[in-house]
């Protein structure tokens, strides 16, 4: 494969959950957690996946890892279609992709010591045991900034930041090419967040890793990501390079999010856009899913036709009927 092709490519990925209701549990409604989402993660880069809770960002991450079976669509890793592989092939692929979880404590088995947790993938993938495995685990502990004496400790003896480091070390043990970071810092204190983010940043350069970074924290996204995809109710509304998103957002939803980031200078003179109402997980049956909360001038087709994701300029895709007019008038 050429180095130009993306490491992970997701094509029209959908994940629907059937909601059962009624006395006899008959099928009632289909909830589209992820709805025809396409994006790609370039090699050695970070794609941010941003959205509110319920926007489907975690589900996308799990689908990419095949921990959740997608309803439709295609997942390509390193140019190979992994949507339907199973057994040995899947197991081998899993050493290429690893996930870092939101809650570090819950993602570690409390009955295993740190040495066993980090050593397990080494056993599973390389059949390393005894002293060899111990040496590799020690090495990994140092790579993530932990100490050799932590080897025999249990997860509950660590702080949240240290637990997350253990999780990262476990992921690195299989020498992955891609890490899926599912809000890796949202459960941590702000000071610890910065440390973990710096670690992730260093590791990316050290090992040439690619990241799919799932978050709702825009300042963190700006620090770590090269590209950003914004999700709203399971649909991608805008994808662009991170600077483009932060300086020239085109979708009304993105604009509202960006305007909500606190400014260091209170007199900076940027108007905050307030969204109408709350996130309602039931998307409108037709039209743009964001239409009910949109602050921008509405067109007739907003309520009837779902806007497709179109490239409005190089490396910048937006799904909004308004965008040509909008790009000049606002911001």
């Amino acid at each position: 494969m050429s180095s130009e092709s993306p490491l992970l490519e997701v094509r029209a990925l959908s994940k629907h959950f059937a909601r059962r209701g009624g006395v006899f549990g008959q099928r009632k409604a289909i909830f589209k957690a992820v709805d025809e989402v396409s994006f790609s993660v370039p090699r050695g880069k970070t794609l941010g996946l941003v959205g509110e809770s319920g926007s489907g960002k975690t589900t996308i991450g799990k689908c990419a890892l095949r921990l959740v079976e997608p309803t439709a669509g295609q997942i390509l890793f390193d140019g190979q279609d992994i949507t339907h592989i199973s057994g040995r092939d899947l197991q081998r692929r899993r050493s290429d992709m690893q996930m870092i979880y939101q809650s570090p404590a819950a993602s570690l088995n409390g009955r295993m010591t740190v040495g066993e947790i980090i050593g397990e993938p080494l056993w599973l993938h390389e059949k390393l045991s005894g002293g060899q495995r111990r040496d590799r685990v020690m090495e990994l502990l140092h790579v993530v900034g932990l100490k050799s004496e932590h080897y025999y400790r249990f997860p509950h003896e660590f702080s949240g930041g240290q637990q997350q480091r253990v999780g990262i070390a476990r992921a690195l043990a299989v020498k992955p090419k891609l890490l899926i970071l599912d809000e890796p810092t949202s459960a941590l204190d702000v000071s610890v967040q910065a440390q973990v983010l710096n670690l992730l940043h260093d590791l990316q350069r050290q090992f040439g890793l690619s990241y799919l970074f799932i978050s709702h924290d825009l300042s963190v996204v700006r620090y770590l990501c090269d590209q950003v995809a914004l999700l709203y109710l399971g649909k991608v509304v805008e994808i662009a390079d991170v600077e483009t998103i932060f300086t020239r957002p085109k979708h009304p939803y993105t604009q509202a999010l960006i305007s909500a980031i606190p400014e260091p200078d209170p007199d900076g003179g940027r108007e905050q856009i307030l969204l109408k109402g709350d996130l309602n997980l039931r998307a409108p049956k037709q039209g743009c899913p964001f239409a009910p909360r949109c602050h921008a001038a509405k067109l007739a087709q907003c309520d009837t036709v779902a806007p497709p994701l179109v490239e409005v300029e190089p490396r910048h895709q937006v799904a909004c009927h308004l965008h040509p007019a909008l790009s000049s008038s606002r911001l």
């Binding site: 799990k62 890892l65 921990l67 197991q91 899993r94 050493s95 690893q98 996930m99 979880y101 939101q102 809650s103 819950a106 993602s107 570690l108 088995n109 409390g110 009955r111 295993m112 010591t113 397990e120 993938p121 599973l124 993938h125 004496e149 025999y152 400790r153 249990f154 003896e157 999780g167 476990r170 992921a171 043990a173 299989v174």
Partner: protein, 298 residues
Amino acid sequence: MAEMSQTLTTATPSPRLENLRRGVYRFRRNPLSMVGLVMLVLVIIIAFIAPAIVPYPEDAEGNVRALDRLKPPDGEFYFGTDNVGRDIFSRTLMGTGLALQVGVVIIVLATSIGVTLGGVAGYFGGWIDDLLMRITDIFLTVPALILAIAVTAALGKGITNVMIGIALVWWPGFARLTRSLVLSLREEPFVEAARGIGAGHLRVLFRHILPNIASPIIVKMSTDFGFAVLTAAALGFIGLGAQPPTPEWGAMINDGRDYFPDRWWMATFPGMAIFLMVFSWNLLGDGLRDLLDPRARR
């Protein structure tokens, strides 16, 4: 610095040992569970040394001493003698080993079957779960004792068949317990992470899920142990279990039934033995519950 880490490592040689030490401390602060533990240790010791310490070890076999039949407890026969003149004290103590053996076999068999089936049902879900749980339900709908009697009667008399029969009706409780515990952990991130690093289903189930749910299962094993012995004695009482002259407590009570209440000692002392066995396992089980499963307390 080197010195400090040295002292640190000697102070806490292993966190597993440290956890164990803490557990032992908590256990010892609970007087009732300590009583249970001490009694059980005594029972186990008795089981091993009984042949050496009892006055008439040959009475465990078909020894007959016609002149000494049905003597009340006295200085020579502490628990009296039975209808063929055998020393009940000797026979009761000699029966301890058998009772323990019966309990161990039943509990180990029932736990193995129950935990495996329950674990598989809870972990895989879907039709596997439905199938296994319907089978479990069928076993649970029939009263355990009746079913055990039926199974044993079908297999034929004898202590081995009693153990098999009781184990076969005992596993559904373990299956239900294990299934519910597995269900509560199945979606945990650490289980998903284990799958993510490439662990197979069996490894996830047995290496990651089961160790985290072992505590309630161990507690149930301990509490059930006494009842398993009791059930085995019940089958012995109705004559399905160990055949004469084996000193099986249930069978001994049955022997004493015809002479009750005038020759009360024949049934009373084996009954006491059963009672103490069940009681000490229950005390131990309660102690372990406080220790391993603090949320389920009282």
